[in-house]
C-alpha cells in the first residue's frame, strides 16, 4: 500500500482548507476555495435543479449544493450547515454548503491512496491523510463537480437511494 507526501503547493508547511460536512473532513488546496459566505446570505430563489440556492461571485451567480458526508446530494439543508465555500473549477465555480471551514498547516502527514477495493474510478477523493484523531479526505473540485453533475442527471427519487457512482 503506497503512501505519498501530501504537498499541494510544492512548499513545505503549505496551508489547506478543510470543509467539515457531518462526519466528513474534506480537504482542498487553499487556492481551490475562492470565497466563504454565511449560508443565511444565499439566494434561495428558484435554485437550479438539485441545488439549494445561488451565491454571487465575479458579477455572476453560481449554484450551491448541499451534500451528505457520503457526497450524496441533499435537497434540504440541515441546520448545522452554516457556511458556503465557493470552489474554483476549470470553468466557473460551485458553492458547497458545510458545517464549518478551517485552515490547517500541512506538516509531516503521510498521504495514502484510497485502497483499490473501495476506490471508484470517478471518485472525487484523491487520497487520504490521517491527522490526529481524524481522517482528511483530499478532494478535487473538478471531480467533485463531475460527481454532482452525474447525480443531477439522474431522475429525482422519493428518498435516499443507492445508485451507481
Amino acid at each position: 500500500m503506497s503512501t505519498l507526501r501530501f504537498d499541494p503547493s510544492g512548499a513545505a508547511n503549505a496551508s489547506a482548507t478543510v470543509l467539515k460536512i457531518d462526519g466528513l473532513d474534506l480537504l482542498f488546496q487553499q487556492s481551490d476555495i475562492r470565497a466563504l459566505e454565511s449560508a443565511s446570505n444565499l439566494d434561495r430563489n428558484a435554485p437550479r435543479e438539485n441545488s439549494v440556492g445561488w451565491t454571487s461571485y465575479m458579477r455572476q451567480r453560481w449554484p450551491v449544493y448541499c451534500l451528505s458526508d457520503q457526497l450524496d446530494l441533499l435537497s434540504v439543508v440541515p441546520p448545522s450547515r452554516r457556511t458556503c465555500a465557493l470552489l474554483a473549477l476549470e470553468a466557473g465555480y460551485i458553492g458547497v454548503i458545510c458545517d464549518d471551514v478551517s485552515i490547517i498547516k500541512l506538516a509531516a502527514g503521510q498521504r495514502h491512496e484510497v485502497p483499490i477495493a473501495m476506490k471508484d474510478a470517478e471518485t472525487p477523493i484523491l487520497g487520504l491523510l490521517p491527522s490526529g484523531d481524524r481522517l482528511l479526505c483530499i478532494g478535487d473540485p473538478n471531480r467533485l463537480a463531475a460527481c454532482i453533475e452525474r447525480q443531477t442527471r439522474k431522475p429525482s427519487l422519493p428518498e435516499e437511494s443507492q445508485c451507481l457512482a
Partner: protein, 158 residues
C-alpha cells in the same frame, strides 16, 4: 492430534468464512475506523494500523446478509503473487475468530444463499454440518469495486 490450519470468522448471523492460519495477523477490539465517501457499502471504512490505512471489508453486507454489529477487526495479510511483499486488509467480525483443523475430506460446495460467494471464495469445507467458504483474500482486496457495488450517490430528498 490435528494441526490447526484455519481461522473460522464470524460475520454475524449465519454468515461465516475461513482464512488460512497464517493469513490472520492481528485482532483489533473496538477499533477506531473512518468513513470514506463514494465507496461501496460493503467497504466504506478504513482503519489505521501500523501506519497503514487498511480497507475494512464487511463480508456480511457483500453477500447480502443482514447487517450485524461488528465490534472486532481481523487484520489479514496476503500475497498477490508468491514471493511478493505482503498486502494487508481488515475484515469486520461479530465475534473473535476460532482456530480449526481442516482436511481435504471436508471439501464441499459453496453456500447457495448468495451468488457472491464464487467471487469471494477459493474453496469451501463443511464444519458442523454447514459450508464454510475459504476467502480469496487477494481477489477480495485487490479488485476494484463493481459498477453495481451500491455506492450511495442518489439524491436524498430530506
Amino acid at each position: 492430534m490435528s494441526r490447526m490450519n484455519a481461522w473460522l470468522l464470524d460475520f454475524g448471523g449465519d454468515c461465516r468464512a475461513a482464512v488460512g492460519a497464517r493469513e490472520l495477523l492481528h485482532l483489533v477490539d473496538t477499533p477506531v475506523t473512518f468513513a470514506v465517501p463514494c465507496t461501496p457499502e460493503y467497504c466504506r471504512r478504513v482503519v489505521l494500523w501500523q501506519e497503514r490505512l487498511l480497507p475494512v471489508m464487511d463480508i456480511a453486507t457483500r453477500v447480502g446478509a443482514q447487517p450485524r454489529k461488528a465490534p472486532f477487526l481481523a487484520v489479514i495479510g496476503y500475497q498477490r503473487q508468491r514471493g511478493e511483499y505482503p498486502q494487508f486488509g481488515a475484515l469486520a467480525l461479530s465475534s473473535p475468530p476460532r482456530q480449526l483443523a481442516v482436511n481435504d475430506e471436508q471439501t464441499c460446495r459453496l453456500p447457495d444463499e448468495s451468488g457472491a460467494w464464487p467471487e469471494l471464495a477459493i474453496s469451501c469445507f463443511e464444519h458442523q454440518g454447514a459450508p464454510v467458504p475459504v476467502l480469496n483474500l487477494s481477489r477480495i482486496f485487490s479488485s476494484a469495486p463493481h459498477r453495481d457495488a451500491g455506492f450511495t450517490q442518489g439524491i436524498a430528498m430530506s
